[in-house]
Symmetry: C2
Subunit: 362 residues, 2 copies
């Protein structure tokens, strides 16, 4: 049941990921599904019924139609990346707050247009990166910012791969230049870049250099690539993303005094809890035949699934604007933009024979 | 007690690491410590007594002297890297088999001279990389070569860092250009390169490209660096090594069907057992809120410490030559050479503004 304080969210597009986020909207205490739209009424209807939407959900047979719905406060937009710039701007212009799937745009210039439209219309925008909303992530950040347990970050290495099957590699929108044309970089790579930024307290790197050996499909879409990043004071990072290798998602962050490891940072092994491993001042015994201060594991319970935490945070910000006259929050679009900037730089490096790309002034 | 079938090993130099290897020689069933040498008789004597050497151990006050000892079959050589080429060749010319600390030389040209001297004199050479002799390593290789559980390798990422203290960073031979002048690359990096090669079935990469952001000390010795490697058929690797960050040692190898993780590959957390984690065909549940086929851990018992396994293997090869007229084994010097080649290429790339180095024809 919707309550007065719940933010009414419209789901704009019936992508697979929208099933997971629909459930999350239902689970979030401060949000409710108000409407759903597809390019056909039938598809929207079928999506609503197969995802257990309440009878009261408005069904829209076009994206234009849901934009006009006065009972929708905000839109969740899981459309293909290439459509983001058009539809996010149109949504903003209609005063709809926007939860936008990642990658947020085909490039940062497009995203800047989206943000400008949001600012002009006083609407909130946040991207759909779920893992940063897992309560575990706050614990990771706590460890990473602990000068005693972790010290200063020296390097952070992250990867995300999964093995797309034949059908995926032929037909998924993520391998089509006209749809999610950033491929593995925009999809899997997005998360690893976010992890690099998070470990670096969201400072932008100064250089981005792709590794030789990126794999592109015949349409030029990246199926696999890696890159190294540098920061002004000597911090470094590497990222690796692929549609061609077994499901793996790792963060290893190494500081002067401590190390953090996460093996399931994007989707935790289990929904109800999430773990990570740390060491502090790890060293060897006297003869260097074993460790002292070996790793210890910490587990964080996840009361709400991480994607519901994301919706809750988005709805909270929208609620502040709608009910309390607050201004849109700048943190989330700020880190979306930084993530997109690094995505763009990796692509630029891949497209230019793995040249080092400077991010100064971007 | 020495037996007739035991290989009599002389310890040539009293480095810290020689303490660990002395214990290993004692533990190996087919080897015994016959002699020890230092540049002073007193130092050799004191090393022998503080390491529990038997009374019968011959004490030599110079490296020249131990080379002449007819009761020494083989020498363990933990001298600084810059001295390897001289002393390993002199040892080979005296017919002594050689267990040579890593890095084996300052560059592959030096190592080729050492190998030529060994071949000319029919002596075995093997480098002192211990972890590859841990029984766990055979299990890792078994998994990596399993077409059902792992598939084809796509990438292998490895790192080894430890935080040298102020004294280490000022005085250790590993930061001195005239001694172990390859710094963190020759020391910590050696292991990560070996791991990359091992995961690639000891195929040489075709390109090596260091990451921007290497840290060198005022003498130009590498304190921290990373690199990416590529193979002809699209396999890639990254390595990272550092004297400036908390103790961390990781291998993540990702294949088309499986993933291998090792968190203590160089020195296991405990001496008596060693673990690793694998996944095969890892995927998500239907709503992508948790994993199916999550990681499982396997533990291998280590009956003999890995460094004693190393000595046992070395002594076995020497015994085959000494007692059965076998020819020296070519596998171990072959992988030493490949490891050194990649070390050299990373250094060349660091020294040349992170240029891509081709290994074709090397």
């Amino acid at each position: 049941m919707a309550t007065d304080t719940q933010i009414r969210i419209g789901v704009m597009g019936c992508a697979d990921i929208a099933r997971k986020v629909s459930r999350a909207i239902n689970l979030a205490p401060n949000a409710t599904i108000a409407a759903v739209a597809s390019r056909s009424l039938e598809k929207a209807k079928s999506f609503a019924s197969s995802n257990g939407y309440p009878q009261s959900t408005k069904i829209h047979g076009s994206y234009e139609s849901i934009l006009e719905d006065p009972e929708v406060d905000a839109l969740y937009v899981p459309l293909p990346t290439s459509l983001h710039v058009e539809w996010a701007i149109r949504a903003a212009e209609k005063g709809k707050h926007i939860l936008l799937e990642k990658p947020v745009a085909m490039n940062v210039a497009e995203f800047d247009k989206i943000v400008a439209a949001c600012e002009a219309n006083g609407v909130q925008i946040m991207d759909g990166t779920m893992w940063v909303h897992n309560p575990r992530t706050a614990k990771l950040q706590e460890f990473l910012s602990d000068s005693e347990r972790f010290g200063q970050l020296k390097t952070v290495q992250s990867c995300f791969s999964f093995a797309g099957d034949e059908d995926f590699l032929k037909n998924d929108i993520r391998v089509k230049p006209g749809l999610d044309g950033l491929g593995a970089l925009g999809d899997a790579g997005w998360y690893t870049i976010r992890a690099s930024l998070l470990a670096n307290n969201f400072d932008l790197p100064i250089t981005v250099t792709a590794f030789p050996g990126a794999v592109l499909n015949e349409s030029g879409v990246i199926l696999s690539c890696g890159a190294s990043l540098t920061w002004e004071d000597g911090r470094t990072a590497t990222i690796y993303c692929s549609f061609l290798a077994n499901l793996t998602m790792e963060i290893t962050a190494i500081g002067t005094k401590g190390t953090l490891r996460v093996h399931d940072f994007i989707i935790p092994f289990q929904e109800t809890e999430a773990s990570f491993t740390t060491t502090t001042k790890a060293w060897f015994n006297e003869l260097v035949t074993a460790w002292v201060n070996p790793p210890t594991e910490q587990t964080v319970e996840t009361e709400l699934p991480q994607e519901a935490c994301m919706v809750r945070e988005f709805a909270r910000l929208v609620g502040e604007i709608k009910n309390n006259g607050a201004k849109p929050d700048g943190f989330w679009p700020g880190i979306s933009r930084k993530t997109q900037l690094v995505v763009d730089a990796v692509k630029e490096s891949v497209d230019n024979n793995y040249q080092q790309i400077s991010l100064s002034g971007r």
